[in-house]
Amino acid sequence: MSAPHLPPAFAESMLRRSIANPEWRDAVSGDLHEEFVEMSRRHGAAAARRWYWRQACGLTLRFSTSRLIPMAAPRRPMSVPDPDMDGRSGWTWLSDGRHALRALVARPALSGAVILTLALALAANATIFNLADALYLRPFRFAGVDRLVVVASAPENDPLADRSSVAPADYREWVDASTTLTEFAAADFWDPNLSEIDEPEQLAGFRVTPAFFRAIGATPALGRTFLDEETVPGGDRRVILSHGLWMRRFGGDPTIVGRHIRLNGEPHEVVGIMQPGPSIPYGAEVWAPLAYTEEEWQERRRGWLLVVARLGAGQSVGTARAEMEAIVARQRQAFPETHATREVSVTGFIQGMRDAGAGPFLGIWQAAALLLLLIASANIANLLMARGTERQQEFAVRLALGAGRWRLGLQVMFEGAWLAVLSIALALPLAALGVEGMRRGLPPSVLRWVAGYEFMHVDWAVLGVTALLGAAATLFFSLMPAVQASRAALSDSLRQGGRTTTVGRSRRWLGTALAAGQVALTLALVVGSVLILGAVDAAVNGVLGFDKQHVMTASLTLPERPYADPEARRQFVARVLGRLRGMPAVESLGVVSFLPYAGTSSSRPIHPEGVELTPAEVRQADFQRATPAYFEAMRIPVLEGRGLTDADRAESRPVAVVSRSFADRYWPGQPAIGRRFRIAPEAPWVEVVGVSGDIMHDWFMNQRRPTFYRPYAQDPSLTMSIVVRTTGDPLHVAGELRRAVTAADPDQPVLQLRSMERVVADKVGGVNYLARALAAMGGIALLLALMGVYSLIAYLAARRTQEIGVRMALGATRWQVIALNIRQALVITGLGLAVGTVLAVALGKLMSSALFGLVSLEPLPVAVMVVALGLTALVAGYLPARKAADLDPTTALRTP
């Protein structure tokens, strides 16, 4: 015979580990070994091993659960008094914890419902918190970010100016004048076209001063950053690539450093590769030195630089702001022409650079998630309280035997803690799914602008917040019933002798308050979701002012140097349009400088003829350049006068078509045709030849912004979108559109090729997603609230079974009994709906201020929700009442 077979070592060690008592450990594993030997002799080693594994698993389960919940094997004879009761021998946290777990395991359905509810609510909170943390609270996490500030400057009446607003001359003066700020750095948008390798592509880039990388704490992985001597014109054909771009377009080839790549048609030497990490600012992939001529540095009228600086030692944002305000006040005195209304702002880097629009959204979302958690907690409190009543007898006995009230409270807390721990364990994978879903939900086109996107993953912050909220929720929902239980008069409970009677006044009050609160919060949440859905619908399908159907667009930016001559730009556009014009699928086509909903715009101060405006009175209007057929291609109506025509050439009289709101602002109630305006005191006059319909350029700024359209031929822009209205599917002309651009200039990439429907959808995609998630939360809340109302009313009805029996024995009709319960349901829902309506209206007001007027609080949806919730609550009240009424009175009286 071969060597004796041994049982699987791992299975055996697992089994032995699970048995606490050493004698049992030897006995059990020895028994199994003995049987294993017999088994392998009879059925062969393989079968025996399989058998052993099965037995070991079963026994391990049996012994490890008995360790946790030793209900099967009491260590002491039954007659020994419970140490809980005698007050002398020590009890342990462990025994209380075990007791609590046993209590939960004994009611799997209830515990399961509670855990699932809480896990869902916690996961929703964790997901949203991660989003808020990544995108809003801490979108930048490099070292020293807390000492960095953004300095911006703008005319006070120009709400459109953002942080990229500093004039070069101002910047230089600030660097010299400021003592509180050190290490100033400036950046200027520069999106160069990369060509020669594969397909040309427009990169996201910036021209920066050499100090920039030091300021943002970025170091190169290869090569170096910029040198001061590279900031002179001519010395600036050098670039640093982001790690992402290097991997994506150059395959991570280290020899690229020192070589030349072709940007905007000119060779640029690669001097460095950045470390992988956040791309600052705004997802930059390539950086070049900021090299202005002395003349360019003198520019004071217009500002476009993004300026960051580091706080000097011992300085705060407050002291820096005070100093900068003093400096700018001096500039206002010195340059009244340009700086009369100039204001300065100094903000922390995160505050200055994060996505400003994200705040209100994430706030609303987080509030909704917290509401959901509150509703879930109220629901759980109700469930536990209903159960607490069943256990009142148990508590009363223990109190009578000398257990302290706090001890009972502790036990309830332990049960709550177990629920919380299990819910948190379930919530974490759910939250991970949620965060991943959010990541995927963001349209790629907006990612460049989303700082902190790379931090969207489940991290310690999320774990911490989930645990914290879980603990808070536990405190809330487990203490409520405990307070109730300990308040119950001892003698009352005992005297009741386990017979069910009508619930005490205070308990009923608390239950009613909880259920009513749930109804109120749910109403608010559901109305909130309906409002958001409405807002999104308005943004996606509402009045755009143009027709997004059957339109293909291609966006591009011509590089500055090869297209320095406006005539070159005109020729480029003419070549592209000429090639496309004859195609059968093309109905009409035009070019516009800034495509609506694409996220960019440009504005100019307007000086209408015949009105002397002080600098403070000058207001901005959106500035567009368009070819004649643009209006036709977008189906923007020309309401008065004429549209732009081919006769509006470079050398002809400067003209413009203005939007209805433009005409109404400057010439209210008067014909605008023939009026003139200019965009600077010394600029040429522009004559209004037509009035067009208003369009929504960007739904984040939902106002119909006054806009003027100048003929492209008279003022050709580098940035443009080609707009093609097609007879069929717009995507069918995508290839032709790209080829037309390439034919006009082989080095010229198309930045984005999208149907107009896609452009709109991309812009509102994130919000769309938000709305759907909010609607889902509203749905969950509705379900929870209905469950809560139902369970409370059913519980109250069950508690009244005896009373109902008495009433029916004394001659009450079935309907009288049912009406009794329905009245109770009505009180609860009525209270909840009243409070909820107030909450919903308040929430609606808040949201309409956060969502720029897209949300309007209509009475109808609120009314519909009120009726729907009321009806469902009534049904929830009716069903258990009917059940009680259907009981035979004698049975009801006998019901324990």
Partner: protein
Amino acid sequence: MPPKTPYLGEFEYAVLLAVVRLGDEAYAVPMRELIEDRTGRPVARGALYTALERLEAKGCLRSRMGDPTPERGGRARRYFSVTPLGLRALKSTHAAFASLTKGLEAVLEQP
């Protein structure tokens, strides 16, 4: 005052009987085989250990460890024997059943 005679469940009754029947050889492996053999029902090992542990805790059984043997991988057997309390429990349970079955022989012993 002697401790109160515990009440025996059906399975506990079977386990105690098996211990008495096996005498010096009363450890888990033959016990399980015996009960399975006589009752014709499968007996889970976990259930048997639970019952043994509980009976010992109630004071119906006592146990001693035997010598380690090689066919058990060097582990000792745990032998059980019935305590006087266990015997009383067995007797009273048996008596209860006996009094219940008394006079029913005609029904119970029909083939």
